[in-house]
Symmetry: D4
Subunit: 208 residues, 8 copies
């Protein structure tokens, strides 16, 4: 009685980046800030690398929540950008849902701040609407480990696939031969240990 493998496909997937705003980021305390910043930018980079349709959305960005972090804005200058006027669950915003539908994709890769609200609510709504949902857990942040694990449990029980940015990149890429340099650059830029491996390798290889 086998279980079908819900596998990411770069031709079927879209990325939803929800509420990575400068103010809200001060609420994130379940992941170290250096690591969290790196994870979010890595997710942005991989979305670009795989040319995945990407949607940006924010909540009340003119108030204390603050603006979208500029790096994400710069990564996706042409992406749909929905500054929600009040809806907490992005899926309650018609423009957002329309933008998702417009991608024509059935696999949604979601990350955001904070996990149990800005990620979990649209994730649960999307599952209910028939999408396959992949939560990027390490590019989503929240108050502490207790809130994180509560949110994970709720999303997992509803059928969400819990993944991390590295797993997403690997599952999308399928085969190194599709582009060795591109994937290696992505890893080198966002995994210090991998960068060190490449540095040592390149130095030694070039010294032959």
């Amino acid at each position: 009685m086998a279980t079908p493998y819900k596998r990411l496909d770069k031709n079927q997937a879209a990325v939803l980046l929800v509420d990575h705003q400068a103010g809200l980021l001060s609420l994130v305390r379940d992941i170290d800030p250096d690591r969290f910043k790196n994870n979010v930018l890595a997710l942005g980079d991989l979305a670009k690398y795989f040319n995945l349709p990407t949607i940006l959305t924010t909540s009340f960005e003119s108030g204390p929540n603050g603006p979208l972090v500029p790096e994400l804005r710069e990564q996706f200058p042409a992406a749909p950008y929905i500054a929600r006027p009040g809806q907490i669950n992005a899926w309650d915003n018609e423009d957002f849902v329309a933008a998702v539908k417009a991608t024509g994709r059935q696999q949604l890769i979601i990350a955001g701040v904070v996990t149990e609200v800005c990620v979990a609510f649209p994730a649960l709504s999307a599952i209910a609407a028939g999408y396959e949902v992949f939560v990027v857990t390490d590019a989503s942040g929240t108050f502490n480990e207790l809130t994180r694990h509560s949110a994970w449990d709720r999303m997992s029980a509803a059928g969400a696939q819990l993944m991390t940015w590295f797993g997403v990149a690997c599952e999308l890429h399928r085969d190194w031969r599709n582009d060795v340099e591109g994937l290696a650059a992505l890893f080198s830029n966002h995994i210090p240990d991998y960068r060190n491996l490449m540095t040592s390798y390149a130095t030694l290889a070039s010294s032959k």
Copy 2:
């Protein structure tokens, strides 16, 4: 094959606060006392804010377990208050179940001390009785992380939704435009990081 989203609705939800008693609180060691006190009072505040029917209950309050913490008593002077004469599972007390039924609500938000008993037992009973159950994990405390995760596993497997007070408030509110000031006050009073964002914002905005 989508999963229906069990989503909190302020017109369908009631709150059950179980055994937050002064003596029993000394047993809670899986959450720091400053944070736990804040979480419990935040849950009380949101129950009032959303006008949710709320039921208080205690176990053996004249003995070592001690009285209900006065802040909760003061928050809900008119709420049904069931001082159980002996039943450990509040759902075994007919007055309690009658009070729940009298609310006419089908979504039960439950928190209490200790998690694996005072929360888990009525949660499991309520699910068996056909209710939708939402456990507020961060307003529920227990001896240590091992007991917490055992209790979570049992409740989750039975279909309980694990949430935290912030997620509950956000899911009930739906849209900031319903009342920006009210929700902001709730967050400012119970999330120091959010209060700081508001302080900085207000100061700068007023200095224009």
Copy 3:
């Protein structure tokens, strides 16, 4: 679509204590030794208090695994005691299964050392044989948190109820009025914080 509540009943439950042996206990490092010793003895005490049929079993006790801890032996001098000649899964031993059947109980409360073997194997076998299984997680020990959580996941996925000794005692007792002093003594002997509450209460009450 409610889930039936698998609820412990003192007339339907039996206790299986598997391989709490002096040598094997040195392998347990996921729980502090003072706490673990207390949890195991608390489980023994509650089994006696509720007159639950209890079965003791050991693995290779004449070798390095060492003898059953004497306190358990003394608590249950008349209990079935199966010193297994070699079977790692106690359920593979016919005498053990016969002893379980002889209790006539359908709810099995299991604890042992180490969790992923001596507990998980008979738990999975018992579930497959149609029993309801309740694992006492805090009276079961193993090498570290990684091995613990792997074992919990496997047992939970198969339908085992993860509980702790305090939850087991409370679920079996149902109502303080069945015997206030007996349950209070159990808690006072095994929960230092509860003992302190009782000490303060009794001192103040007697000083009136």
Copy 4:
């Protein structure tokens, strides 16, 4: 409504060791290196001890990922060894799948680096292909606990059995009497606490 026990059988199981390469190991930070090395070699030793068909595979071993750790290579000089030219998911490599099929086994014991990719991807593919999958969590490593628990959740939800090397060995062996010395040697070589028990026992026994 009992759940069938997916139980390892030494006549039905094969072992897949995926990408334990000298370079990739520097990415593993969720398990202490001394412990991780020991766990991986213990898994290798038990595969040999039980004569389980074992398959080795690597990813890009001529580049920064580095060669397979020599100890594993030496343990299995005659095992199928698939140096994948590019496929990230080993199951995408036809030679690998052919080697699995050639074992004639339906139970696959999988470990590798990193957990959420090199283990999870073939695990999910194998489940989808109808195999029973047993993940050896403590012989699989990844970046941190967050990535580990995301990977565990995804695999467990799909039906993988999460186990550790000690549990695998015990479930395969079934009964100490099948070979006391062999199993004891395995434990003595890889569990320092068990070795100490044996040392004390042997010393005292020989001093009689």
Copy 5:
């Protein structure tokens, strides 16, 4: 060869609160925000309770560092308030040093954000100037435990006394009989466990 006891005296001590600003507080990650907020306000309350001369100072409060948290401002409306135009070490600001001298006190109780800069720099300067320095470690926050312990080591090696707000209050008060109610109120407002003890005691005492 006894060591003189550097003991706080309410007639010799002053309090310096350095840079508890709404923006800078988002940098504090070595203490949970609920606990940290409580500790800082507790220190403010004790300074008022013991009528200790108190000095407030901020760094660049019109910029991103943000304003002093309003609660502190409200607690000390008449206190010297030095908004430093640029000096990072408050002791480099002449007005600040003059305010300290004007108190006529030789014992300086210091807390601030962040520990290794805003606390350590004036602490080291004050010691060099001949003052006795008492650092309130739990009302001082910084990036993480590594930065905290580096700062503690440097200050301790220079002769600073590391204390916490509760110890400071107790050492200043000397004897409960000086004012039982006042000290009890301070503890009840800032130590949830103590408040619970008082609630249980008062309830039981009043029920006689």
Copy 6:
């Protein structure tokens, strides 16, 4: 340039147990309650075993702080017992200091609740009065690790020797041959791992 070894001597040492009261114990959260209770009773047992003069003292025991834990009272029925009327630092109480002097001992072994107040204050006073002070860190409890380490730093800098009950017992005993059975019983009663070693040894030795 050697440092003299401040070594405990059973003919020169006295034990001071400060404020181990049922209410105050609920404040102790830096040590697990099962372990802490065991450590305190172990210290009591060793004080009796070595016939060390022992002094008990409490703070406000008729109020919320609660009575001395009964076990200590029973261990030392004839010991000086100073119920302080208000002094927070026990050394400020003349009866307490007189009782210390009456022992004629120059080495003071101190433990109590909470560490930074009830232990640190008399420890610092005693050092200033010329005594050698040995703090039993694991029989002294406080709010959290931050308060503990601040207190340790202050006491250590003043010259206190930080020890634990096991080290105190070993340093006092000097040589197992002085009484093998007595010391072994002390360890067996308070160190589960040691008890297990003795159980395995005795079982095997008696089976010869």
Copy 7:
């Protein structure tokens, strides 16, 4: 009896970066790699910002230890670069000591990999040679917390000042007015929380 404040002065300080090599970095496990990389580059940036004489040195860079991380090399193309032929303690290398002397500075800021060797050895030698030594603890990495704290204890006892890069930058800068933009850029580039504060501030300020 005041202690002189050993205070960093940008005209008296030099920076020594010891063995931050691509291979050796895989040994660093006491700090998360994302954070550690950031800390090291922050130290490099501040050395450049304050125009501090900086010396680079490596150990056996042609072997497994690997090359200096390229970023540091690029930051300091003209700095003295001593590739040590074998000396483990950089101070044993005459060229290195000569380079230090040539700076004419008496305050040495040291960081490296691993802490207890590559940092501690030259730090202890430099102190013995009469220099003031400031260890940048968060830009120095080692195997685990146990090795870190042993190394810190040894260096601190010898008189080294334990600091972190942020404290070093602040102590060198003295006054924001010396260059607000430069220091702010340094912080924005290496402290995500500070960058967020600046983003929110700038957005709001510009919206006036």
Copy 8:
């Protein structure tokens, strides 16, 4: 005012291995068993590698404490071996002190089980006798972190140098050129990450 550097010299150092016995090792819970075993054997290997005079001693090895671990016995078949008849502090045993004197060394490298007794007592005695003492903290084990840090504080305050086996090896070796292969083998055998670096390097170097 420089501090002399107490630097290990292979011609002045001896190694004391105290009570690494099979039974006592079950008490060690502050270090993971796989890591601890590796650290102890690494210390033994380095003692042999540098031909340091080494002394073995045990406490009551015929009882529950168990025999010296066989690996150490085999490493040093000709070393002085003092099975102490009862003295807890090895320095109280005349044969042990005589063996130390017979080495003619003034630098003593000490490790043992448990840290606060078997290591701290002889360390403090040796310092008092005029020796330079170097404690190998990671080859010394104890009950938990609290007991460890108490022991470290006491030893450090008395002047002991806290080191780890890797630091000891590096300080003794001074210069890789004295013997590259020997030191590399020591590291490869006891540092998995270093072994991996060497494997990758050798593979790539040989592929040229």
